[in-house]
Structure formats: structure tokens, C-alpha cells
Homo-oligomer: 451 residues x 2
């Protein structure tokens, strides 16, 4: 009899940990992903700000699973799932493949949500993929390059203004890093602009940064951000984003136009569209963020062979964090392994909250672990330890630690390369806009900073 075939969709935390947890089971695992790499999303902001290389946070999935003979990795994007015939259809370039499954683990994750304003994406990229991070890297450093070329004070001012929308961990870490970059790291690298005059704004519609961390840490994080030169604007709803800036409406009714060269969107998530497919076919509910309401064992209603894990699920208000995906992936694998061996797991999925943390500044972080509340260097050390622990692979741990050492102690930012394609093609149209004013005829004088 053929071994059961487990198809896993997605190479993020949920999919990878599910596949790995099935290493010893008498099943064949096929992991289908539209990206070649397992992305360590919590460090994406470090790729965008020039600290880490893409390879350090995104090792090739097939490399990680190389020594697991029962796992096959396929690079293709799942476009259809048929629950009745138990078939997954995936495409890559003009190739279409079909996979029959006995068990299915859907861990396709979530993308950025613009709350119905997808046109904002052009001007304010999200922070979900390697492409996003490299695009933002080009914009963050490119804005300064363009400012250095500019002879117009207003334009320079705009190009030196950064806005991060969304004060969750990603937004907080991004804003903190941009402030560190402009106010410290790059201070001596430019001659015609003073990067320490850059404005870094962190906006959120809520009335606190990092609300899930509780009022104490939230206040500490805000104070630390402000001490590092980040302007925190709360109760601020973004009503429009375009090439040259954004419009904001504050909770007190005030509106403001903010001119900004570089905009980052870290405000909301939207589960993979596969969630809708699953919900429609199984009758499961779906929430506004596209997350599927699963049973307490992570299966779809009436489909005990189909598991949904990670950012795609709506269950007891579980947050969209790595640990929910990791534990969900492992739980689904244990259920499958149990059925295959005839020892079914009957306990529901139970999430064990290992805590959460966010880096605010160089050597400064906030962390919440159980009842413990940490700030400053202690929290930062905990962050370092935990992130190293979860980075996949010896090489990544060693080189990343070295990179961090050089970055945090020496304030260097060595991974700053942007492609011509990004700088010329995308930056031009998307960031600076067609109305970007050319400077013609003026001769730049050599020499020192002018303001």
C-alpha cells in the first residue's frame, strides 16, 4: 500500500515545522511554496535597513529539508484546492502541476493589508516578503541619494522624511532602525545633506505603540523611540498615500498632509486568498482579515484531513506570530502522525505563549515573557538570544551573530546593495512620482554641506 501523501502549502514557520515534524513518520511529504526560501520574517526589517543579507534570513527550503528523505520541495504557487477530490493545483511560469493528497496542511500565511486601499501599495510597500525588503532598502537609502543630488530645499526636506505606518513590532523596529541609520550610522557619509535632520514618523490609528505588550511596556517603548528621534503620532488614520506623501486624519478631527520621500506600510495583514477557497468549500467562517475559522484541532469543518495553521487561522483570538505558526505546524504533524500509526491525538491545539519582544533601538528592546516585563539592555539581550536560537542553520547563526556584532558595536550597515532595476525602474515611478522636479543647468559646487 502506498504511503499517505501529505501536501504542505507554504515554506514559512507553519509549513516548514509541519514538514520537519513528519520526518520520522511513514508518509511522503510534498512542500509546495511560491518562494525558494524559508523566510525568517521577524528580521525582514534588518534586510531592508542594510544589516543582514537576504541569505541570512532566508535559507533555501530544500536545503533545510535536504536530509529528510521523505520530503520533496516544489517551487510553485498553489492556485486551486479541491477538497472533494483532494487535489492541489499549483503553477510556476507556464507549468501547471496537480498533487493528490491524503492530508493537507495549508500554511500560506498572510500578506499586507491596506484595508481596501490597495493603491497605497505602490507608494508605501509592505513588509512581508524579500521583494518588499529589497524594495524598501532601495527606497530608504535611495531617498538619501536623491536628497544629496537635490538643490531644492523643500524637495530635500521631503526626501529626508520617512513615515512608517503601523506601530506593531514590525513598524516599531523599522522606525527605530531608520532613525538609527539617519541620525547615527550615515551621519558622516553625505556632504550636501545632513542626515541627522531626517524626520522619522511612526503613525498608528490606535492610541498606543505595541498595544498587546500592555500599558507599561507600551509607554516605555514610546519613550525610548522618542529618545531616539522617532516622532510618534497616535490616533492617526492614514486616509491617502501618494508619490509625495500622505494625508492623515487624527482622532480629534484634525487633518494633516505629510510630505515624505519614503513610506513604509506595516499596518495590517490579510490572510492568503487560499483561505477563502477553503472556507467556501468547507463552509467554514472567515473573518475580515480573510482568516479561516478552524476547529479546535486546526482542521476545517467536516474535513479532518485538512489542517490550516499560522497566520491564516481565526481561533480564540490567537495572534499572527511565529510561535502560533510553529506550534500549529507541529500540532498538525502530530495529528497526522497519530492517525498514520493508529494512535490518534485527541487533545485540541493549545497555544503556549512564549512571550513577545520588539527591538526599539541599539541595545534597547521591550519583552514580555509570562508575567515578566523587561526593558532596555536586558530585553535586548533576550531578543538576541531568542532570535539566534530560531535562525535556521549553523552558518546563519554564526554569520548573523558576527554581522550583528559589527553592526551594533560599529554601527555599520554593510548590506546596502540595491539593484539598478530597483533604483531606476521602481523607485522612479513609485516613490518619487512623475512630478519629481528635474534640476537642469545648475552647476553643483564641490565641497561642504549646505542647508
Amino acid at each position: 500500500m502506498a504511503r499517505p501523501h501529505v501536501v504542505v502549502i507554504g515554506s514559512g514557520f507553519g509549513g516548514l515545522f509541519a514538514a520537519q515534524a513528519l520526518a520520522k513518520s511513514e508518509v511522503d511529504v510534498t512542500l509546495v511554496s511560491r518562494t525558494v526560501a524559508h523566510l525568517f520574517q521577524p528580521l525582514l526589517y534588518q534586510v531592508a535597513t542594510g544589516i543582514l543579507s537576504t541569505g541570512e534570513i532566508a535559507p533555501a527550503t530544500r536545503d533545510i529539508l535536504r536530509n529528510q528523505p521523505n520530503a520533496t520541495v516544489l517551487l510553485a504557487e498553489v492556485t486551486r484546492i479541491n477538497l472533494d477530490s483532494r487535489v492541489v493545483v499549483a503553477e510556476k511560469l507556464s507549468k501547471t502541476i496537480a498533487l493528490k493528497y491524503d492530508y493537507l496542511v495549508v500554511a500560506a500565511g498572510a500578506g499586507q493589508s491596506y484595508f481596501g486601499n490597495d493603491q497605497f501599495a505602490t507608494f508605501a510597500p509592505g513588509m512581508k516578503t524579500i521583494d518588499d525588503a529589497l524594495e524598501l532598502r532601495a527606497r530608504i537609502f535611495g531617498s538619501l541619494e536623491m536628497a544629496e543630488l537635490s538643490e531644492d530645499a523643500d524637495e530635500r526636506r521631503r526626501l529626508l522624511t520617512y513615515v512608517v505606518v503601523g506601530a506593531g513590532p514590525t513598524g516599531v523596529e523599522m522606525a527605530g532602525q531608520i532613525a538609527e541609520l539617519t541620525h547615527h550610522t550615515l551621519r558622516r557619509s553625505f556632504r550636501r545633506i545632513d542626515t541627522t535632520t531626517a524626520r522619522v514618523l511612526l503613525l498608528d490609528g490606535a492610541d498606543a505603540v505595541l498595544p498587546p505588550f500592555g500599558p507599561e511596556l507600551s509607554a516605555a517603548a514610546r519613550a525610548e523611540l522618542e529618545r531616539n528621534g522617532v516622532e510618534v503620532l497616535l490616533g492617526a488614520l492614514v486616509t491617502n498615500v501618494d508619490a509625495t506623501g500622505l494625508d492623515v486624519k487624527f482622532s480629534d478631527g484634525r487633518t494633516e498632509r505629510i510630505s515624505a520621500g519614503c513610506k513604509v506600510w506595516a499596518a495590517g495583514v490579510q490572510a492568503s486568498p487560499l483561505g477563502r477557497t477553503l472556507a467556501e468549500q468547507s463552509g467554514a467562517g472567515i473573518d475580515r482579515a480573510g482568516r479561516v475559522e478552524v476547529n479546535d484541532d486546526l482542521t476545517l469543518p467536516g474535513r479532518p484531513e485538512v489542517f490550516v495553521v499560522g497566520d491564516m487561522i481565526s481561533l480564540n483570538g490567537l495572534p499572527g506570530v511565529a510561535q502560533v505558526a510553529i506550534q500549529g505546524g507541529r500540532y498538525a504533524a502530530s495529528k497526522i502522525a497519530g492517525e498514520v500509526t493508529g494512535h490518534p491525538v485527541t487533545t485540541p491545539f493549545r497555544y503556549h505563549d512564549k512571550g513577545s519582544m520588539a527591538v526599539i533601538s541599539r541595545f534597547g528592546a521591550v519583552a514580555k515573557v509570562g508575567r515578566l516585563r523587561l526593558t532596555g539592555f536586558v530585553a535586548w539581550s533576550a531578543w538576541l538570544f531568542v532570535h539566534l536560537l530560531y535562525l535556521v542553520g549553523f552558518k546563519n547563526r554564526v554569520t548573523t551573530l558576527l554581522h550583528w556584532f559589527i553592526t551594533f558595536v560599529g554601527r555599520g550597515r554593510s548590506e546596502r546593495v540595491t539593484t539598478e532595476q530597483q533604483l531606476v525602474g521602481r523607485l522612479a515611478v513609485k516613490q518619487l512620482g512623475p512630478e519629481f522636479q528635474p534640476t537642469i543647468g545648475g552647476t553643483l559646487e564641490p565641497g561642504k554641506i549646505k542647508h
Copy 2:
């Protein structure tokens, strides 16, 4: 009186070393480059094959010159030079800037040449820029990903065939690395294809690999390449390249069609088009590769204030290597410094050949230093030492050494990330071609390798 203004065009070896050599001079230096980084071109093939990250071989130019107060770095592409009015015009996005110079150092380098067949570039990218390297990374690894998805034996065969055109150091190192990758590194990473069956072909119109190294080392290099599974085809002229392969005409009149998924062009160089501008305005000669015939002090005829260095010059048959550019840049700087201080340098530029080397395989290389001829591990160690020495910056040396250690000892390839943009957009159109056959309807079986 204003200090003399030296404009340097290009951030490669010639431009960077010229700018740095003027650090102590009473001049203002403006370095204009169309890329943000100083590219260590000899290691570009390691970025393409997943060994190094882009940041390791391309540190930001303005970072390198950060502590040189008389140097300003501008990101813009020089589009015009007016020798009579001593003005350089450069553009970035829709910005145009003009720079008046007292001295000009043109070090704009060379791009790939397809010998009049620029349409080949779409199907066989060159190896000159970071964009090239990342594009090739997507194709080298992407070809295997597509082969893993394929159910057609001929198609798999084609996708598993790599052709490198040009058996100079770049081509030799590239072919050697692809062989290492497919025959060793990735051997256990795929389930449906056997990457050790990949064909790696190295083609050249000449009758030897690495001809400037002399017959002894050339034969040693060829033997080592073949021992490592590279098929060396000499006297082979490429007459056409398209999506699915290339046509070759051999010196004995035979013609052959080679089906290949991934094609790399490392066959010829063409100096920057700025060379033609300089030649036209100064009356200097220009050779077929667009290189300018300069005076023996690297100046243009009748323009003692304009220096041309590196890959752009035609002088006494000097080769297009890093050392010619480095020494030329420094010489130009010494001439300028001499004139500024009233102690003009009157000796002509003299190139000191420090030797050349090429890596053939893991721990194997050939090196020619003076009358010394080295092969094998000794040559490889020399290569390691010299390349570390010339890498810019402490961090790059340390992390690169670590990367190399992990790569060469552990056979890892950790920098393999390709963007969606590359994989979906460019790979589809350029590598696989519109005639790439879709597989529809077949259900992939899970499990082991089939051939």
C-alpha cells in the same frame, strides 16, 4: 582661491583608488557613479552561485569614502562630457546635474560585449554588474527548480544543461562553480531530478582556456576543469543564442545545436560609451572594443587635465584587470596632486604586473606571478590571500572569510535568495522562452527520483 575640483567618473577600482589617493591633496573630489557600491568584480561569480552576499563584494562607495572630507559621492549616470567647457553632465531619475571640473578622471569601466549580437543578452546575461549576478543566480538555481517540476525528459535534460561562453578567468570560475554546485553541493537537495547528471559546458572560440596564463597553466586548468565535470569545447564560435539553447560553429567547420536552460556570457568586453565621447572631442583613437588610445601618462591628446584609466584605455596592450585600473587610478591622482603642489610627475604610467590567478575548483586554482607558475592548493591559497587583502573593509574580510570557510569546507551555498520579480518576471520571458511547455493535468506522484 577655490581649490581645484577633481571629478571622478566611476566607482570601480580605477575611480575609487583615484579618489582615495587624493585624500591628502588640496583638492575637492566629486566621485560620480551610476551605482551606489564599489563592486569587487572578480568575485561576482560567487554572488551568482550563492556563495557570497551582494554586500560582501559591493560595499557602499560613500561608506568607503566616509572619512575622507574632501570627497563627495553622487549617485548619477554621466551622460555627457564637454571637454572644452570642462563640464560633466549626469542624470538620475529625472534629475540632471552639471559639474565643472579642473581635473577629470574617467574610470567608467567596460560592459559585456556580444560582438554585434546584442540580442544574445536576453538569453545569456553577462557578468559585469550586481544585476547580472542576481539575474544569473535566479537562472542557475531556477533552472533546477523548473527541472524538478518537469515531467518531460527532454525538457529536464535541457534545463539541466549549463553553457558558459568564454574561457577567461570569469568563465572558467563560473563553469567550475556551476559544476561544483550541481555535481556536489545540491546533490541531495532534489528528489525528482539527479543534479549530478547536469552538463556544464565551457565554450571558447580560442584553442585554449585562459590563454594569457601560458600553455602549461592553460593545460593544467583544462585538465582540472574536466576532472571536475566541466566539458571544455574549444575552437567553438557561438553563432546564435535563443531561449532554449545556442548554435555553435567549430573551427573544423562542424556546427552543433546545444539545448541549454541556462546560458552565461563571459566572452567579451566593450568599454563605456563615454570612451567614444572622449575620443571624438579629443581626436584620440579608439579600438574595436571602444577603448581610448591615451598618452603614456593616461591623459587624452591635448587634454592634460583629463585622465582615462582602467578598462577604458588602450595602451601598450594592457589587459582589462583590476590591477591596471588600481595602478592607473593612483597614477592619475599622483599626476593631479603633483600639479597642484607644483611638483609635477613627469614619468609615464608604468604597469607593474602582480600576476593573475583563477579558481578552477574547490581548493584548486592556477596562478602566474612573475616567472612563478602555481597550480592546485598552493595557487588556491594564494588566491584566497590576495582576494581577502583587496576586499574593502574589515567586516567584508571577516565575514567573507567565514563564508568561504563554511562554503569550501562544508560545501554550503547560503546566499541563494532570488526575488519573485526575477523568478517570475525575467526568468519566464528570457530564459525559458514563450515556447516553454506547460504540464497540464498530470498528477505528480510523491516520492523518489525518477529519470
